[in-house]
């Protein structure tokens, strides 16, 4: 069964270069091929979740253990990896299908699809690898493709946003490489399971804590936490809309939050001070992101600041779980909190992806992104309006959409762990999110009369079929995902992911086999 693992990386990589070759002869090849590859990978990840036993381990090159020391490069799929693979491939497929109509107006279409496939291959590689240097290489592959995609329309603002993003991203990658150097100095190995064994057996000391702090800064910038968030509003609002939904929906989770979870739970020993730092960073992101978002008048900039706030919810949920585990508290509270955090991860990918696709649809028809000049679109673009309404209700936490359940679980876990200030802040920011999205709905779709558009001479119709299909399907997924609270479905998808993090010490036993 371990023949499946390399397919997640090899298929998008081969597809990217096939599109580069064949695309110079046949113009429309890249569009359909990308959607086919990502649909196949979605089907493969659904098959692995429902039918196959994990963890699945592959030793690249077939090098077996030598006197109980792992010398091969490992690729591991366990509960957390397959959960993230599902998120990446689903949102990736819908963004690729949406961009069939959206990217038609650019001339360099094949470059776009090549870079898209490379980004998907890099993200799949990060969640599948079991070796910290492999994580660094795949992370750079995904990040460099995203730098080029942000600057895809070569106008003034896009180039400036891409340059700022690149300088900060390169800085954080250098921090990550420096901390990999420190870890190798201390433990003489690069395998995640083996490093966790070596840290337990030797005296940790100052060098490992220093490596932890530098690692947190590097990956905190990739995950857009406060105070490392300065690149996010410019980059996510200047990218083309399907790329914005991929960046905000998947990239900051796959190369930011996932790596923090994997390394701080399964590799390092959970300590009280680092857990406190992570929880404080999560709370600050939640609060400051929400307050900065509500004053914006550009749709995509508001959505980008709101991403910072929602990622703060995820890190808050996980941080409370870490705090409880580090003090050897009640394991059921930690399970509840981490379940809430991971569930909110999936929900945010779906509804934030949908919101960015809606903003792209509005921009495709009218060419305007400033909310003060928009309005009165509800009769002319019914599909966009209704899907945007369901996404806004979902992100504000209104039942029966999925956002309500995940936020409720995080707030209940915070109250049970006796952090009352955090739960009050979470409820307060939820109310501010509701206000912010009521503002978006009112000013974009409902404010003015529809004859305004005919007077301005812009003809506004509904968007083409492929864009409608993606938006409707994601809106349906918003409702379907609230079924993940039902215990029987939760045990297949969500509980294995949480178990990997709660039983943190068993990762090395499962991978190495002894």
């Amino acid at each position: 069964m371990d023949v499946f693992i390399p397919l997640f990386v090899v298929l998008p990589l081969a597809g990217a270069f096939l599109i580069a070759i064949i695309g110079s002869f046949a113009k429309g090849f890249g569009r359909i091929f990308t959607s086919i590859i990502l649909a196949f990978l979605t089907g493969l990840s659904l098959y692995v979740i429902f039918k196959v036993e994990y963890p699945i381990i592959l030793k690249v090159g077939g090098w077996e253990l030598f006197e109980k020391i792992p010398i091969a490069i490992y690729m591991v799929i366990d509960g957390l990896s397959i959960y993230l693979l599902l998120i990446i491939n689903i949102v990736g497929f819908f963004s690729a299908f949406y961009s069939i109509s959206y990217i038609k107006r650019f001339t360099a279409e094949n470059n776009y699809y090549t870079l898209f496939c490379l980004m998907a291959a890099g993200m799949n590689g990060v969640v599948v690898s079991g070796d910290i240097f492999n994580i660094y290489v795949f992370l750079e592959m995904a990040a460099i493709s995203s730098y080029a995609l942000v600057a895809f329309e070569i106008e003034k603002e896009h180039l400036e946003a891409s340059f700022k993003y690149q300088v900060l991203g390169c800085l954080s990658s250098l921090f990550i490489l420096l901390s990999i150097g420190f870890l190798y100095w201390k433990t003489s190995t690069l395998n995640i399971a083996d490093i966790s064994r070596m840290i337990l057996s030797t005296e940790g000391g100052g060098l490992v804590t220093f490596a932890q702090v530098i690692l947190l800064s590097g990956f905190g910038l990739k995950a857009a936490m406060i105070p490392f968030h300065a690149w996010l509003p410019d980059a996510h609002s200047s990218a083309p809309s399907p790329i914005s939904s991929m960046l905000s929906g998947v990239l900051i989770k796959a190369i930011g939050a996932y790596v923090i979870l994997r390394l701080f739970f399964n590799m390092f020993v959970i300590s009280y001070s680092i857990s406190m730092v992570i929880t404080i960073i999560g709370t600050l992101s939640m609060v400051i992101g929400g307050i900065l978002a509500i004053g914006q008048w550009d749709i995509k900039r508001l959505l980008a600041y709101s991403s910072i706030s929602q990622m703060g919810y995820v890190i808050l949920g996980v941080g409370i779980g870490m705090l409880v585990l580090s003090q050897n508290g009640d394991k059921s509270i930690a399970t509840l909190s981490i379940t809430g955090g991971l569930f909110h991860l999936f929900n945010h990918a779906v509804f934030k992806g949908l919101l960015f696709l809606n903003a792209g649809a509005v921009e495709y028809e009218t060419g305007i992104r400033d909310m003060k000049k928009l309005g009165g679109l509800s009769a002319k673009m019914p599909v966009t309006t209704s899907t945007s309404l369901s996404a806004s209700m979902s992100i504000s936490g209104i039942p029966p959409f999925n956002g309500f359940f995940s936020k409720l679980i995080i707030i209940i876990a915070a109250i049970q762990a006796k952090y009352y200030v955090l739960s009050i802040l979470a409820v307060f920011i939820s109310i501010i999110t509701l206000a912010m999205y009521l503002k978006v709905q009112r000013f974009t779709f409902f404010n003015k009369k529809e004859e305004d558009w005919d007077m301005r001479g812009i003809s506004v119709r509904e968007v083409p079929f492929t864009m409608c299909f993606s938006m409707v399907f994601l809106a349906v997924l918003c409702l379907v995902l609230s079924l993940l609270v039902v215990p029987s479905i939760r045990d297949i998808i969500l509980t294995p992911a949480v178990d990997v993090l709660i039983n943190a010490g068993q990762y090395s036993t499962a991978v190495l086999g002894h």
Partner: protein, 112 residues
């Protein structure tokens, strides 16, 4: 021990360049200096006292080699650094064409 501190000092020199300079190209050069310092640090970690180059051949009699794994890591890191620097420079020359200047105080279209 002194050598590792010198590597970190070179890293801080590059960081000073990225943070203080106003010309886009000088920022790119600062990032390149930081990359070189991290690569140097990685290779110095693998030094074994009295070791020689890790190449296996028929004439070698000494059996203490330096660690070859950081050398493989640094090869990969050099290639990644090349790709990053190339993309930064390509965007920098397009910015020069659009804005007419390399000064970052003039390039401020996005605010808020």
């Amino acid at each position: 021990m002194i050598v590792y501190f010198l590597c970190i000092f070179l890293f801080l020199v590059g960081l000073y360049g990225v943070v203080t300079k106003r010309n886009l190209i000088k920022i790119v050069i600062g990032l390149a200096i930081m990359e070189y310092s991290v690569n140097l640090f990685l290779i110095l970690i693998g030094y074994v006292k009295g070791g020689t180059a890790p190449i296996l051949s028929n004439e070698v009699t000494k059996r203490v080699f330096v660690d070859p794994l950081p050398q493989a890591m640094v090869l990969t890191a050099i290639v990644i650094g090349l790709a990053t620097t190339t993309l930064l420079l390509a965007i920098a020359i397009r910015i020069y064409k659009k804005y007419g200047t390399f000064d970052i105080r003039e390039i401020k279209n996005l605010k808020g």
